[in-house]
Amino acid sequence: MNVFSKIIFTIFVIQMNGYAFAESSSIDEISKYRELLADGNPAELWEMRGEELWKKKIAPKNVSLEQCDLGKGAGVVKGAYVELPRYFSDVNKVMDLEQRLVYCRKTLQGLSHEQAVKVPFGSVGNASDIEALVAYITSESRGMKMNVSNKHPLEKESYEIGKRFFFYRAGTHDFSCATCHSADKKRIRLQELPNLLNKLDAQKTYTTWPAYRVSQGEVRSMQHRLSDCLRQQRFPEPVYASDSMTALIMFLAKNADGGVYDAPALKR
């Protein structure tokens, strides 16, 4: 089977097995589908589109992103993601991948902020260039170990802010990130919840985002994952690619240190 027919077949199988989901661990089921797909994750289509976008010269400056410095020098994509978030001396702050992409699109390509953050999360008929770029860049770290620095004082600060955020209980429901993600083997309904304070769980989780979400038909980035968590946490909406989200990502990424990166992945 080619990639496309595999995708269609798999989606069909997943729909047919809706009831089977309820009876066994959804994670086990997803593993089965992953095996079924073998090397045919639809995220590949996002990765390919992302690579084209990375190399495409666009208005107003008519330049590509190929000179964007993701932390390992201008234009180095290979291995950049497993070291993010990180401190960038040119802006004197810590940035995650998505913040850095916004920065490069503005400074290199001359986009306005509004243009650079347009459509952070795609939907049918409204594809996100950002999700595609993120899929491409992250795929270039596949097989490498998470290696996020906390040597710079601002990296340390970002981590500590993220940690405070993780434990911050508030809102109508008294929820924090920790409410759902600080104990082993917990579930919401049938959805298994990773314990993000447990090294192995944290690694397994962080190294498999972004992911192609079968239920949404899109590749979803870390920013999307966090935004959707916060929505269910009864928190207001985070501004896209903001410092608080970078801090939270820093906390999660650092906790996943040493994990072998394996994304874009495939998830429910």
Partner: protein
């Protein structure tokens, strides 16, 4: 903001927290970011998440366990918030209770303002035999009467637990459904019926 800063320092005094000043600074920076980088949407507002009460402050500071004194302080103060049904009737309609237990909506940024809130009990609890999609953050409530009986004491305990879970368990993961205005009195009666009506599928 000033009021909140005062609130935080008060909680630190109360909790006898001896952390270094730098830790407080991280917390303050986090709050500043929360204020400036989040946008209220629908029923989920920035103001609401910034106005932590004392319980939320302590539970953020001590997420895993806390000194016994503090635990007692939370339970005592939360027990005082419990309002028992005004007409003395504790048990409503279990069928409505089941709908409330299934409904996960309410107070999300994606929910409408003034919509009907659910309790989303199945997210965390095993409740009925027929619903196999349930979570495990809370204990099983299946066969509730068999497990706990249905004495007046149990009925009052169950009411208070739903109304304000922290009256019994400081920093419980369970929302304070009555105290926080998530479920109204009639809804709590209906959820009570799901657990305590002998005709409810919970007790079949």
């Amino acid at each position: 903001m000033k009021k909140m800063l005062m609130g935080l320092s008060v909680s630190i005094v109360i909790t006898g927290c001896t952390t270094a000043a730098i830790k407080t600074d991280y917390g303050q920076t986090m709050l500043t970011l929360l204020r400036s980088e989040f946008i209220s949407k629908g029923p989920a507002t920035v103001e609401r998440v910034l106005s932590q009460d004392e319980v939320q402050k302590i539970c953020s500071e001590y997420p895993v366990e806390r000194p016994e004194k503090m635990a007692t302080l939370i339970q005592d103060s939360q027990m005082k918030t419990v309002q028992y049904p005004s007409d003395g009737i504790y048990i409503g309609d279990w069928k409505n209770g089941e709908k409330i237990a299934q409904n996960g909506r309410g107070f999300q940024s994606s929910d409408p303002l003034g919509g009907v809130n659910g309790g989303n009990c199945y997210a965390c609890h095993n409740i009925t035999k027929s619903e196999i999609s349930y979570g495990n953050i809370g204990p099983s409530l299946y066969n509730y009467i068999k497990a706990h009986g249905s004495s007046e004491q149990v009925i009052k305990y169950t009411w208070a637990k739903i109304y304000n879970s922290q009256a019994y368990t400081d920093c419980s993961s369970m929302p304070r459904f009555g105290h926080s205005g998530i479920l109204n009195e009639q809804q709590i009666k209906d959820v009570m019926a799901l657990l305590l009506d002998p005709a409810s599928p919970v007790n079949q």
